[in-house]
């Protein structure tokens, strides 16, 4: 049996303190990762079954959208669940990457 493809998610707390999270297609992975690093969001590839269900329920992100259009707002509960799947509930905003 073939392994299911991991789902790339980008998530984090935006400048206004609001939780954001989106999933991205594999073809957009390189650009999504680059943009996430520049904007200070985190990325994760979700592989486990519970996490995949959670990731699939996230809104689609758009690698070509600027500002808030890149990663969408999500409910705090969904964000907390995603954080728990990725790293046990820690949802700190990471350090922004240098351009």
């Amino acid at each position: 049996m073939t392994e299911p493809m991991p789902i790339l998610v980008v998530f984090g707390i935006d400048g206004e303190g609001k939780p954001r999270a989106s999933r991205f297609a594999e073809k957009d992975a390189e650009l999504a990762t680059k943009a996430a690093a520049l904007l200070g969001f985190r990325t994760a590839r979700i592989t486990d079954e519970a996490g995949r269900a959670l990731a699939q329920a996230l809104p689609d992100g758009n690698v070509f959208a600027r500002g808030n259009g890149f990663v969408r707002l999500v409910r705090p509960s969904a964000f907390d669940k995603l954080s728990a799947v990725v790293d046990g509930g820690v949802a700190a905003t990471p350090k922004k990457a240098e351009v």
Binding site: A35, A65, G67, G69
Partner: protein, 331 residues
């Protein structure tokens, strides 16, 4: 178009457009596009993969939106144009405004030329964006947004980016292949500030069609570029085509929605064999290979007149604006 219940109405629209093209068609449209792109150095820039030159050209195309071409051209002649090299040098100096960090940061800049204000007033005095004397503040923002797009999204290789986007969309058997090719390049670019779907479609139609004969996918994508502006929409409205097809809608985003102007034009073009006008044309030629694409000589006309030409060229290549005006005036 999902509604196939009115084939006779589509036939009628097809006959009208075919007649226009037969009488007033520009049979050397592609030759003229090739010549003009070459004169502007665009074809050589594509061969060299010279993104700065292509940025300069595309930004000039964007600068023509929203006002008569004559006025826009005159302003650029008097006040100059902003170039890739200028913006690159200014960005390289790392200005303090956080919005200039990357393409994705550049959102809601809010620069207004007359009021001399923006969304980051603390950084305004040191910001390079207002230093270019463009016709309005929106164009300053468009210039920086497009620069950052080409630098960050296209990784400084605009030609390579287009190759990759079209290559990824190249699904030979997909029924919506034309739309996929069109969207592969138009949709991303239209996210840049101040770069509308219409302007991108008009600019890229000629660029892809006549930029490089070796790039088959470019030509295929250029052929299917459709730009809809007010005159294009009004042609379909005033000739009764929209009403008879039951597709009346207001001008705007609905023109690009399913069963909008864009799709109607695509269907009309699908019924017209453009090779009857020039054997070198592709059989199905809905592209908005308008005379506006990269041609300073043609810019003496107004934006809407060019739009009229665009529509006619969309339906089948090459009628002129005078006949277009005649066609809509007859009704």
């Amino acid at each position: 178009m999902s509604d196939k219940s009115k084939p006779s109405e589509l036939d009628r629209a097809t006959r009208l457009v075919r007649r226009i093209c037969r009488i007033a068609g520009d049979r050397r449209l592609i030759d003229r596009l090739i010549r003009d792109l070459a004169r502007h150095g665009v074809r050589a820039a594509i061969r060299r993969r010279d993104t700065p030159v292509l940025f300069d050209w595309l930004l000039e195309e964007v600068s023509y939106q929203g006002i008569g071409d004559y006025v826009a051209h005159g302003y650029m002649e008097r006040h100059g144009r902003v170039r890739w090299s200028e913006i690159a040098a200014l960005i390289e100096a790392r200005p303090s405004c956080p919005k200039l960090q990357s393409y994705w940061h550049f959102d809601r800049c809010g620069y207004q030329k007359v009021e001399r204000c923006c969304a980051e007033p603390d950084h305004f005095s040191g910001c390079p964006l207002p230093t270019h004397d463009l016709r309005n503040g929106r164009l300053n923002q468009a210039a920086y947004s497009l620069f950052l797009f080409m630098r960050d999204v296209a990784n400084g290789d605009f030609v390579g980016w287009i190759d990759q986007r079209l290559g990824d969309a190249d699904l030979a058997s997909a029924p919506d292949r034309a739309a996929r090719l069109r969207q592969a390049v138009v949709e991303p670019l239209a996210h840049a500030y101040g770069v509308s779907n219409k302007v991108v479609s008009m600019a890229l139609a000629g660029f892809l069609l006549a930029g490089d004969a070796q790039r088959v996918l470019w030509i295929e994508a250029g052929v299917v570029m459709i730009a809809v502006d007010t005159l294009v929409h009004n042609f379909l409205h005033r000739t009764g085509i929209l009403r008879r097809l039951g597709k009346d809608h207001a001008y705007g985003t609905a023109c690009y929605a399913p069963a909008g102007c864009s799709e109607i034009l695509e269907r009309i073009a699908g019924n017209i064999d453009a090779r009857r006008f020039n054997p070198a044309f592709p059989a199905n030629f809905p592209g908005s290979c308008s005379t506006r694409s990269g041609l300073s000589v043609q810019r003496a006309g107004s934006t809407s007149a060019m739009g009229g030409r665009s529509m006619i060229a969309s339906a089948a290549p090459g009628a002129n604006a005078r006949f277009f005006d005649y066609a809509i005036g007859c009704r």
